[in-house]
């Protein structure tokens, strides 16, 4: 499951997409809109994606993880559009026979996602709005 969606992400659906009888572990990461950033109040976020490139890049990350760890299934769902504080912007679920591989692959996936998947966020605060880059 590799998706970009404008609708709220249901974590349980992402977990269900990778859960398998031969896997004893499902590791998840949920990125959530925070109410502050770099000293400013965040009112809401706007996410934008280059979807035609982002989905293949998500698949590429899953392939990298499968080379590095013994994992069975990867799901990555990223939200776009207007997100309020507390909403999930990204959900990752990784199933593996054993927990260590699932946890390590999950941590790797969120880091790589921020490096190579073309998705951007604009932080809108009472002082103005700012596109957020990698270094911030």
């Amino acid at each position: 499951m590799f998706e970009i969606t404008a609708r709220p992400i249901a974590v349980a659906d992402v977990v269900a997409a990778v859960t398998r009888p031969d896997c004893g572990a499902v590791a998840t990461f949920v990125g959530v809109v925070r109410n502050h950033s770099r000293g400013r109040t965040v009112s809401y976020l706007e996410y934008e994606a280059y979807a035609e490139m982002a989905i293949p890049k998500m698949r590429e990350i899953a392939a990298e993880s499968s080379q590095k760890w013994e994992i069975a299934a990867v799901a990555i769902v990223h939200r776009v559009g207007h997100l309020e504080v507390g909403e999930a912007s990204v959900v990752i679920a990784i199933a593996a026979p054993h927990r260590r591989a699932a946890l390590d692959a999950c941590a790797y996936t969120i880091e790589r996602l921020k490096e190579i998947v073309p998705i951007w966020k604009k932080e809108v605060s009472p002082d103005g709005s700012f596109w957020v880059g990698m270094g911030s």
Binding site: G31, S37, Y47, E48, Y50, E52, M53, P56, I110, E111, K114, E115, I116, V117, P118, I119, W120, K121, K122, W131, V132, G133, M134, G135, S136
Partner: protein
């Protein structure tokens, strides 16, 4: 030749459009295209040092030669989360 250029996030706002068809001399490189876009859209200037380019949805180098009909994505640094 013509290529389709797509602009995202801060680059999209600087250009005022999500995509443009750009005419280039045959044999032009990614770097040539970026220079031309920067001349036509001075607002892209501050983004230039950190801009990444994708050709046909794969990251490209500035020396890569473009072909007729290529889709070129102008990619500012991707989403935040530098604080781990």
């Amino acid at each position: 030749m013509q290529v389709q250029v797509r602009f995202f996030a801060a680059a999209r706002e600087a250009v005022g459009a999500g995509e443009r068809v750009v005419r280039l001399k045959d044999g032009s490189t990614v770097g040539d295209l970026v220079e031309q876009c920067a001349r036509e859209h001075p607002g892209l200037g501050p983004l230039m040092p950190s801009l990444m380019i994708a050709v046909n949805r794969e990251f490209a180098k500035s020396s890569d030669v473009l072909r007729e009909g290529d889709e070129v994505g102008m990619i500012p640094p991707v989403s935040g989360g530098g604080d781990v």
